[in-house]
């Protein structure tokens, strides 16, 4: 990738941040929390997007950002009040700005109709101020000057005089004011630049220099008359004085200077050797310093030169300090993933080493054992640190949701307030990315299906404005994201009827409230009779559930009639490492994810019940849990194992379905590195992934959800018949 392409990528990344800041700021203002710094920050955000877009020639983006920025400038200057109407337009503008950025990033063109309406609304706020959109690029052309030489070659200048008959002669009368020097402009540099345009003759007027005791070291006492023979125009000469024209008296005429007595320095311009007054002689000093002959000032210069030489080390130091405080560096994701992989290998290697030491039969308390323990600790820390690199706050994701709420509210004509909490909670980057779609769908659902219409809410004694809240928090080693609404709650009777109608359950099935709620996740279920253009979009909650499961997450519903519903997504912190229980089944080693295990137990004969056709259930504290024989399910043995001789792992799936998995023995509980089976071998039913054990053997990681689903029909049959009989 070339440098510009890389910078363009940086630009789009920065745009994401800026759009986030913009939206947060606007929402703060909407909530009455915005102060003048908020307004300044949102203005800067749009301003920076415009600046960058201009650099890449993204004209549409520049044009829209300009009118948007102009409106924000009006707000910033208190000329436009940030009323709810104004803020609504600004929020929609931020959405459109985001669309334009996205389109630019994908090299797409957004139709004019996407912006036209808003441009009109924004223009109405700012009146004729909006027209200056092209001012900035045009201004860029202001600076135009030829490359510089190092000094004026005055001999050549004279030598060429005869050859420049076609050139025009300009007389420049130039008297700097003290401000010119105060702003670090240098007359000598101006002369150098002029010399690049043609042949120059410079004469200095020293008549205004006061006596030494009257001299102001910051004063300006010199004036110059410069004659330039050049093929360049007067405007081009003026450009050289662009930065200083307000800080000097400047007169450029195209005639030869008169021989008037008020121009004594040029009274005899042929005779006056220009060299004597030539700038190079004074080039190293500010002209007034030169004129004053102020030796102290010269010494200052020397001192500062010495200091300059000493500074580079200090400069490095300063920038280093800055770096460690709040600076960030961008790292290619591939490099981090490689590091994650290597740490995974390290974890495996450390486990192998531990195994080797155990096998070697070293005494307890041996220094090798102590060292190994330390290695284990360090490995764990490295692993956590590496995972933290991949972790990202969910803030950006949440910010996108506020737009979804706004759009959904507009489409359904509901008034909705979004509350967000825990935006700084960090989750693995991939998880954050893959959550965008399911979360969007859940938020739309909350607005569309969850919240009632304003009239209904008022009739039920609720505020007309509905609330959707989006929260994130760390809970026991996982991240829990919740989407809740204060709507009507799940209409369970309707859900049940639809499920019967669609043949998902039979009329006789007795389902708990939670069972009915979970019907929403069944494939092919949709509570809307006609697919609305909002929640519909061909995606059901089953797809949401699958997407969340794909990143190792679980989703749960809880709902209270009249009070609202909450969808909780529980996510792993990382996708690379798993806390697992290492178990033995028919001489094979398996890993069961710890998150799925509720408890482990040794059943007694009175706990187990035959349910015909080889099916068993185990009674755990009065609850009947179907038994799954891991050995049979995995095909490790043909005959079912006796639950009484093995160990039972009581496991639970994301949707709360439980099962008792029989294994032979439990070996260990440890972190295992997840190695994809799909990538290295192929998909195997009932197996989530694989890992490498301490002794180098490969162990399969059990997909608890899949094995329960596989036994699903039989299980639900058992559950139902048990519920019916018991």
């Amino acid at each position: 990738m070339d440098s510009m392409a890389e910078i363009k990528q940086t630009f789009f990344q920065e745009c994401d941040d800026l759009l986030g800041e913009l939206e947060t700021g606007l929402i703060d203002m909407e909530g009455g929390d915005g102060d003048c710094e908020t307004v300044a920050a949102i203005f800067r955000a749009v301003h920076s997007i415009k600046g960058g877009a201009g650099a890449f020639g993204l004209d549409k983006l520049v044009a829209f950002a300009h009118i948007f920025e102009t409106t924000l400038d009006e707000v910033r200057a208190d000329r436009l009040e940030a009323t709810p109407e104004v803020l609504s337009v600004l929020l929609r503008s931020s959405d459109v700005l985001a669309d334009l950025v996205r389109a630019a990033q994908n090299d797409e063109e957004l139709g004019d109709d996407a912006t036209a309406g808003l441009v009109e609304e924004l223009s109405a706020f700012v009146g004729d101020k909006a027209g200056a959109a092209d001012e900035a690029p045009a201004g860029g052309e202001d600076i135009s000057f030829a490359p510089l030489g190092t000094a004026i070659d005055l001999d050549d200048a004279f030598g060429d005089l005869d050859d420049v008959e076609e050139n025009q002669s300009f007389t420049i009368k130039f008297r700097p004011m003290p401000e010119l020097y105060a702003n670090a402009n240098e007359t000598v540099l101006l002369f150098r630049n002029l010399a690049q345009m043609g042949d120059v003759t410079v004469a200095c007027d020293e008549s205004q220099i006061p006596t030494l005791d009257e001299i102001d070291p910051e004063g300006a006492y010199l004036a110059w008359t410069i004659i330039v023979h050049t093929s360049h125009s007067k405007d081009e000469l003026l450009e050289i004085f662009e930065f200083v024209e307000d800080d000097c008296t400047l007169e450029i005429t195209s005639e030869e200077p008169s021989d008037d007595a008020d121009e004594p320095e040029l009274a005899d311009d042929e005779a006056l050797p220009v060299e004597e007054e030539s700038p190079p002689a004074k080039a190293d000093r500010a002209p007034d310093e030169a004129a004053s002959g102020d030796d102290v000032a010269s010494e200052d210069n020397v001192v500062s030169l010495v200091e300059k030489k000493e500074k580079p080390a200090a400069k490095e130091q300063a920038s280093k300090e800055k770096d460690t405080s709040d600076a960030t560096i961008r790292v290619n994701l591939g490099r981090i993933d490689r590091l994650v992989n290597l740490v995974g290998e390290l974890v495996i290697n450390q486990a192998m080493l531990t195994q080797g030491v155990i096998d070697a039969g070293l005494e307890r308390g041996d220094s090798v054992e102590a060292g190994l323990e330390e290695l284990k600790q360090l490995t764990r820390e490295i692993q956590d640190s590496v995972m933290a690199i991949r972790a990202q706050p969910v803030k950006a994701l949440f910010q996108r949701m506020s737009r979804i709420v706004r759009e959904a509210a507009r489409a359904t004509e509901k008034s909705v307030h979004l509350v967000m909490e825990g935006e700084m909670t960090e989750v693995d980057k991939t998880v954050v990315e893959r959550l965008a779609d399911p979360l969007t769908h859940m938020i739309r659902n909350a607005v569309d299906h969850g919240l009632e219409k304003a009239e209904t809410r008022i009739a039920n004694g609720k505020p007309a404005e509905g609330t959707v809240s989006l929260t994130a928090a760390h809970r026991s080693g996982r991240v829990v994201i919740e989407v809740s609404d204060d709507g009507a709650g799940i209409n369970r009777e309707r859900v049940r009827n639809i499920a019967i109608e669609k043949g998902l359950i039979s009329e006789e099935d007795k389902l708990s409230d939670s069972d009915i709620d979970n019907l929403l996740f069944m494939p092919g279920f949709s509570t809307v009779e006609k697919v609305s253009n909002l929640s519909g979009r061909g995606v059901g909650m089953d797809v949401v559930k699958r997407a969340i499961q794909a990143v190792g997450g679980r989703i749960m519903i809880s709902s209270q009639p009249g009070k609202g519903s909450t969808f909780s997504i529980s996510l792993p912190l990382t996708l690379a490492i798993l806390d697992g229980m290492v178990v033995e089944v028919a001489d094979q080693t398996l890993v069961v994810p710890l998150t799925a295990i509720v408890e482990t137990l040794k059943p007694t004969p009175s706990d187990t019940h035959e349910l015909g056709a080889g099916s068993k259930v185990i009674s755990i504290r009065g609850e009947f849990i179907p038994v799954i024989d891991a050995g049979l399910t995995m095909g490790y043995r043909a005959e079912p194992a006796d639950p009484l001789t093995g160990v039972v792992l009581s496991v639970e799936t994301e949707d709360g379905a439980r099962a008792a998995v029989i294994v032979d023995t439990i070996q260990d509980q440890r972190q295992v590195v997840i190695k994809s089976l799909e990538e290295n071998y192929g998909h195997v039913d009932s197996v989530a992934a694989a890992t490498i054990l301490g002794d180098g053997r490969i162990a399969l990681i059990l997909d608890v959800d899949a094995i329960i689903a596989r036994e699903g029909e039989a299980l639900s049959f058992h559950e139902n018949s048990l519920a019916a009989t018991g």
Binding site: A41, H47, A55, G140, I143, L148, A184, E186, A318
Partner: protein, 121 residues
């Protein structure tokens, strides 16, 4: 000795562009993210030219220029204002604060380099 330039801009994109343009031109480039950071960096260096944005958080370009002009060491360091603001009153404000010159964004690489050379002593 290559000319050393300190570029101050809150936009990451702009900083990267400035770094690219100025290093390609053979300058020794230092970067700062806002006015405050700019003054911090200046405490440890003496650039030949400073290029600064105006609209920045923490300390804007005006405050930064005033800060530079107040310091004995950098009082005479040329400062070019790099900004999308082309309004005359903003140029005037920058000038009053002590700016040496200005360049309007989006900047032309060559013109920026020329402008720096033009004001560099």
């Amino acid at each position: 000795m290559p000319l050393s330039v300190l570029a101050v801009d809150d936009s990451r994109t702009m900083r990267e562009m400035l770094r690219l343009a100025l290093t390609e031109a053979g300058f020794d480039v230092s970067l700062a993210e806002d006015g405050e950071h700019g003054l911090e960096v200046l405490a440890g260096m003496a650039p030949n030219v400073i290029v600064t944005d105006i609209n920045m958080p923490k300390m804007d370009g005006f405050g930064f220029i005033e800060g530079v002009r107040r310091s004995a060491e950098h009082r005479v360091t040329p400062i070019l204002v790099l900004t999308t603001e082309s309004a005359p009153e903003l140029k005037m404000r920058a000038k009053n604060a002590g700016a040496t010159g200005w360049i309007v964004k989006p900047f032309d690489k060559d013109k920026l380099v020329d402008a720096i050379k033009r004001v560099a002593a």
